[in-house]
């Protein structure tokens, strides 16, 4: 376990991560893992994250060493797509039993690797450690080494048992496994000045194939995609790429940065979501390749392709404009990483509303960022009743959010579209953007909403749950208005930082008790904003209002 904890410390110390660089030394040591709250947590474990990151490698056998829960409850449940081998969708697990728990599971693991190689002969086997074998001391590194020597095949240990942390830590540990055991172990058959790696892209719903034709046309070769529609050999020889694009999620930043460090492969962070971002990403890829020795005429060809594709995309969006006029989109997400998706939605005539839009005069891009940043977690705690109220208040016509709120939104009879990773549609590149608008139009204009919102004939309008929900919300508001003490209590109880469950009251008390001036100080004392950092702005607001109020208070005290 000691080498695992060293690896975890190492990934926490990610200099490429902007969030990390802004932290104090003590904060950095704590790592980016938010403290999980028993009875209030959601989301996958580190093993889940590791598997998500690596399973899109299509020709590899992914073997899960653990009890049946880890693989049996979850296999073949991801939307990644393969252009070739299907072995990645085969569920392999040691399914350890009581005897293994008592006597150790290493023998079963070794035999399992042998069975897989004999029956399926994949180019490599990835072995995933889970909690129970980690607890009983099964040394998967040693078993993988022995199997590698015995069978003459790469057998890669992925050391990310669930209980070491959440999904995003698992993503990074998966990246470490690639860096340590895979990348740089083989050589490509040939190289070209147009070879790139795409890092952190999983080819969900086949999205990569919305981009690949554009790269093909430019003569740019994806040497390795890590890991969407990936092949073992491609990843093993990916160290010969000339440049890399890290797809905006921070999931595998350690891979991109260390490949730059070790092999001199420059990378940029980019996104293929939205028209502007797609064009920017194509430009940056070409720019990096030219800097590394590709013929500069690539830049002209890239510009020509971009202007042709952009024109086609905008032309395709034009007909949506009259349909979308006056329609409001309620956006609740931490998941859409690209402001340019939202810019395109606006361009198509949709109005974006947030849950608590501030009157801001900042430029458009900033405003959208603000919309995206706020309340990403709020939705998880919401009941359908609260959501219904929110939709009513926002006067929204459709909601775009992550999959987790799907059933809540639908129960509120609200047009809804999934824009996070679990979605079934491919929204990348120019083609994907038009597809997204088509989906929005389909949802908005479906006549089903009129039907499902109708009360039953034996029910009056006032009896519907919608009416009751609004009445109850109104009654609650009235009660609070009539009772300032209760209202103040409610205000103080409001959670500001949802990652660490810190209330407004707790932050205010800490600010006045310790005379805090900065967000960092507040974080030191209360942990607020120490998680996803989405609430920094709210903490700043509290600081500003308290520090304004202070002199008045002290005057009053005198």
């Amino acid at each position: 376990m000691s080498s695992l904890s060293a690896t975890i410390q190492d990934v926490f110390n990610e200099p490429g991560c902007g969030k990390n660089a802004n932290k104090s030394e003590a904060e950095r040591k704590k790592g980016c893992t938010k403290q999980l709250q028993p009875g209030g947590a959601a989301g996958g474990c580190a093993f889940d994250g590791a598997k998500i990151a690596l399973q899109p490698l299509t020709d590899v056998a992914h073997l899960v060493h653990g009890p049946i829960a880890c693989e049996g409850n979850s296999w073949d449940n991801r939307g990644a797509k393969s252009s070739g081998s299907q072995i990645w969708r085969t569920g392999f697990t040691t399914d350890i039993n009581e005897t293994d728990v008592v006597f150790g599971g290493e023998k079963r693991l070794f035999k399992s690797i042998r069975e897989i190689i004999e029956k399926y002969d994949p180019p490599a086997v990835f072995v995933y450690q889970t909690c129970v074998p980690a607890m009983i001391g099964d040394d998967i590194d040693a078993v993988c080494k022995a199997a590698r020597e015995k069978f003459g095949k790469p057998v890669i240990p992925v050391n990310a048992p669930g209980f070491v942390g959440p999904k995003n830590l698992g993503n990074k540990l998966a990246g470490e496994a690639l860096l340590q055991h895979v990348i740089g172990t083989e050589e490509p058959e040939y190289t070209t000045p147009y070879d790139i790696n795409i890092i952190g892209e999983y080819n969900l719903s086949g999205e990569l194939w919305q981009i690949k034709p554009l790269l093909d046309e430019l003569g740019i070769r994806i040497l390795a995609c890590i890991s969407g529609d990936g092949r073992y050999k491609d990843v093993a020889s990916s160290h010969r790429a000339k440049a890399a694009m890290m797809v905006c999620s921070k999931a595998m930043i350690n891979v991109a940065r260390k490949m730059e460090e070790r092999y001199g492969i420059p990378f940029f962070e980019g996104s293929f979501y939205g028209i502007q971002d797609t064009s920017d990403a194509l430009r940056e890829i070409s720019q990096l390749l030219v800097e590394r020795g590709a013929d500069p005429e690539l830049l002209d060809r890239t510009e020509a392709l971009i202007s042709r594709e952009e024109a086609r995309a905008w032309a395709a969006i034009e007909p949506f404009k009259p349909r979308f006029k006056g329609k409001k989109v309620l956006l609740i997400t931490g998941g859409v990483k690209s402001w340019s998706v939202l810019a395109a939605l606006q361009e198509a005539g949709l109005e974006l509303v947030g849950t608590s839009v501030k009157k801001s005069t900042k430029e458009d891009k900033e405003r959208i960022k603000e919309l995206m940043g706020q309340d990403a977690h709020m939705i998880e705690d919401m009941t359908p009743r609260e959501m219904y109220k929110m939709l009513k208040d926002a006067k929204a016509d459709i909601m775009l959010s992550g999959g987790r709120s799907q059933f809540v939104a639908l129960k509120a009879a609200m047009p809804w579209l999934d824009i996070n990773q679990e979605r079934h549609h491919a929204y990348m590149g120019y083609a994907g953007m038009v597809k997204l608008l088509k989906e929005i139009e389909k949802a908005l204009y479906n006549p089903v909403w009129k039907q499902v919102r109708k009360p039953a004939p034996w029910e009056s309008e006032e009896e519907t749950w919608q009416a009751k929900a609004l009445a109850e919300a109104a009654a609650e508001e009235a009660a609070l208005a009539a009772n300032p003490v209760l209202a103040e209590q409610r205000r103080r109880d409001t959670a500001i930082c949802r990652c660490k469950s810190v209330s407004a009251g707790a932050i205010e008390d800490a600010i006045s008790a310790f005379d805090l001036k900065t967000v960092d100080e507040v974080r030191e004392h209360t942990q607020a904003s120490g998680g996803c950092t989405a609430c920094i702005e709210k903490v700043e607001d509290i600081l500003a209002s308290m520090n304004r109020a202070d002199p008045a208070l002290s005057v009053a005290a005198e």
């Binding site: 009875g39 829960a69 039993n97 909690c131």
Partner: protein
């Protein structure tokens, strides 16, 4: 009589089995106002949650004690305490149901002891029932977790009636196995009520996972059987248990309340439903309603129409024991041959299966057997989709999870009517397969008797429905 074999492989490939704790969690979801809680790392919960969301297409209440590595080593008291307090504060449940996992069982957490300590420290929890079940992942299967949990609920939540208290002959307890869908439970309830009896289901996932839009939304289960109803189950004249897995819970009920029970191993098929209807008629003292006389006739007719298509089929079936016995048994009665049968866990129903052998194994085993034994109908959960495509045989989805079709919560297989519709569905699937893949060509009989005698279909073309 089937020989029960156990797969000898070290590596399970394409698992059929799911883990015990989530079977237990699903049972808790049949209680009103419940919050099931898995004592383990957060992945234990999130995998189960995703599985149920994809199957039922509903929001699923399921929480975690979020055990970290350190907590696991030191013991999980703090996490159990915090989880109970947080759930109580945030979701105001009527009951919390805790299932252990592999992680906490390996350490050997004494959860019963923890709960006692939590109760001593927090008198505000005095009125909150907390039920704990030990369900390590590295033992048994989904069905066992469900069965143990229901038995535990009976032991802890059902009141023992006062001595000499009269039983209410018009009330009937139902202990359904986990192979029944919310739709099945509603069908069974209707049948029972048509005999003038009032049924209490424990658990009742029809109340919580049937997809209805509730009047009052809660983060806990939005329906299911209420605790006061469970407590009063001792007043019922009879208990019926559906599926052999429920014997333990039924015995616990008899012991606790003195009410006798009758176990129905199957409710799919003509004879199985005859037994149920006769029983209900006897205990209610009412004649069989006309509706069921007609439905029986319709089922008989469906069997006559369906046997042309199902008869002679070589069935490959992968399911937990009770579902295997129920569906496999019905198809056998329609003339199919149970040529390949794979299941997840030991059960008394296995050796009575109308097959030569049944294997406790995985879907790789089922695929191998289906290929060797030239099967031409596959019945298993959605994970059979890959093998169905490879084998090129018609595929009927049954069990949990069914994540690539909608309406799985309402798929019926019990009662005269449910059996009738199931026969139609499977026969139609086989007819469509025949039209798409097995139309005769000038070459079909080129080899004379040789090919025709080799069994059903040529198995070369790919279809999966």
């Amino acid at each position: 009589m089937a020989e029960v074999k156990v797969s000898k492989k070290a590596c399970s490939v394409n698992p059929l089995k799911m883990s015990q704790p989530i079977g237990g969690a699903l049972a808790f979801m049949g209680l009103r106002g419940a919050m099931p809680l898995l004592h383990g790392s957060q992945g234990c919960t999130s995998f189960g949650l995703v599985l149920f969301v994809r199957h039922f297409k509903e929001a699923i209440p399921l929480q975690t004690t979020a055990m970290s590595e350190v907590a696991t080593v030191l013991g999980g008291f703090d996490n159990v305490e915090q989880a109970i307090l947080n759930i109580n504060n945030r979701t105001k449940p009527e009951i919390i149901g805790i299932c252990s996992t592999g992680v906490t069982e390996t350490k050997g957490d004494d959860v019963e002891g923890y709960i006692k300590m939590v109760r001593a420290k927090h008198p505000e929890l005095d009125r909150l029932p907390i039920v704990y079940v030990s369900t390590p992942d590295f033992k048994d299967a989904f069905q066992d977790g469900w069965a143990k949990t229901v038995a535990r609920m009976v032991e802890l939540l059902v009141d023992t009636p006062a001595e000499g208290a009269a039983k209410d002959p018009n009330r009937l307890n139902v202990l359904p196995g986990c192979h029944l869908t919310p739709g099945d439970l509603d069908e069974l309830r209707t049948i029972i009520e048509d005999f003038g009896l009032a049924a209490t289901f424990l658990p009742d996932i029809a109340g919580s996972l049937d997809g209805h839009i509730p009047d009052d939304f809660t983060p806990t289960t939005i329906g299911g059987v209420g605790l006061e109803e469970v407590a009063a189950m001792g007043q019922a004249g009879w208990t019926i248990a559906i599926g052999a897995q429920m014997r333990r819970a039924a015995e616990a009920m008899e012991q606790k309340t003195g009410s006798p029970f009758k176990l129905f191993e199957r409710l799919c098929g003509l004879e199985a439903n005859d037994a149920l209807i006769v029983f209900l008629s006897q205990i209610s003292g009412r004649p069989v309603p006309n509706k069921y006389r007609r439905q029986r006739g319709q089922l008989v007719d469906a069997m006559l129409d369906g046997h042309f298509h199902i008869g002679g089929r070589r069935l490959a079936i992968g399911a937990e024991p009770d579902l295997l016995g129920d569906l496999g048994g019905m198809l056998h009665e329609m003339g199919a041959h149970m040529c390949a049968a794979v299941t997840t866990t030991q059960s008394p129903v296995l050796e009575h299966l109308p097959a030569d052998d049944v294997l406790i194994g995985d879907l790789e085993d089922l695929e191998t057997l289906a290929r060797e034994r030239c099967c031409d109908l596959l019945v298993t959960h959605s994970h059979g989709r890959q093998m169905a495509a490879r084998l090129g045989i018609p595929f009927f989805r049954a069990g949990l999870p069914i994540f690539d079709r909608i309406g799985s919560g309402h798929q019926l297989s019990i009662g005269y009517r449910g059996t009738r519709d199931l026969i139609f569905k499977i026969a139609n699937l086989l007819m469509a397969d025949h039209d798409e893949n097995h139309e005769p060509t000038p070459e079909t009989w080129r080899d004379g008797i040789g090919r025709e005698g080799a069994g059903h279909g040529d198995g070369s073309s790919a279809t999966a429905h």
